[in-house]
Amino acid sequence: MKPLQGKVALITGSGRGIGKAIALKFASQGCDIIVNYFRRREAAEQTAEEVRKLGVRVEVVKANVGDPEKIGELFDAVGKSFGHLDIFISNAASGVGRPIMEIDEKAWDWTLDINAKALLLCAQRAAPLMEGRNGKIVSISSLGSKFVWPTYAAVGISKAALEAVTRYLAIEFIPKGIAVNAVSASAVETEALKFYIKEGLVKDVKQTTPVGRMVTPEDVANVVYFLCSEEAGMIRGQTIIVDGGTSVAPWASVIEKGEG
């Protein structure tokens, strides 16, 4: 029997990138999956197809997690289809890449609603579905919560808020038997990164990563998976960084790299 057989995981934003890798990782371990997407149905259907081939049950639900009403509908759908939830991964993210002086209220709200408020509102809806099931919640952050990148202010700030929500949830959810943590990654090889490279905001990532290669969605998914295991039971409210050493080596471009 696979370790997650009979369990159900909802991963927001799982049509592409990190969310998709997480969905496939959990499915490979026997977990039933709810694929959530907002704008790209085809990608979500593709993820669902790959998940289905791993022999588990899969549902696809469209919802903008920046909209509280849609969050309600998403969790109603989960409750209706599966009746319960074991794992919730708050992965969906969006953002407006602008210098501080150009961040208006609309851009701030859009970014903070999707990246930070969604975790709070989703966790409130996930908790009752996890009752008596040793639930796990993992949010996906980024190094922008602590370090500054050009035009990344709105997203970086939202990720700092996300990590704080994670800490508070972790403690308040202990009586509910739910473990809550975050995984934070540096630049990950996804479509989102292609945008940042195109805009000239990220370059030479390999040069600044001591391990000598980029972080992949699978690298992130593996750590998320560990945090959802009972072996990680004493890790609570933490943000685990997956960056190949980048954040502890600010002069990485001049040090010897690994082989990747």
Binding site: R39, R40, R41, E42, N64, V96, K106, A107, W110
Partner: protein, 80 residues
């Protein structure tokens, strides 16, 4: 109200654009709608007409007219 008028209403409200400068030929750039305005307009129009506008399709819109035509086609399909 026609589909065009309804879409115009939504775009005008979301992107704070005066309706007088929204024409079929106008591009989002000309209307000074940024990428967030466009995404929010797409989402609002999807809700209003109960349709889906995939990003892949939205990227093909050359101007407001293309946007309206797509919405009208999808809304008509929906009505069947």
């Amino acid at each position: 109200m026609t589909v065009e008028e309804q879409v115009k209403e939504i775009v005008s409200k979301i992107a704070h654009i005066d309706k007088s400068i929204i024409s079929r030929e106008a591009t989002f750039k000309e209307m000074k709608a940024d990428s967030l305005d466009v995404v929010q307009a797409l989402v609002a129009v999807e809700e209003k007409f109960d349709i889906e506008i995939p990003d892949e399709e939205a990227q093909k819109f050359r101007n407001f007219g293309d946007f309206v035509d797509f919405v009208a086609r999808e809304a008509a399909k929906k009505k069947g």
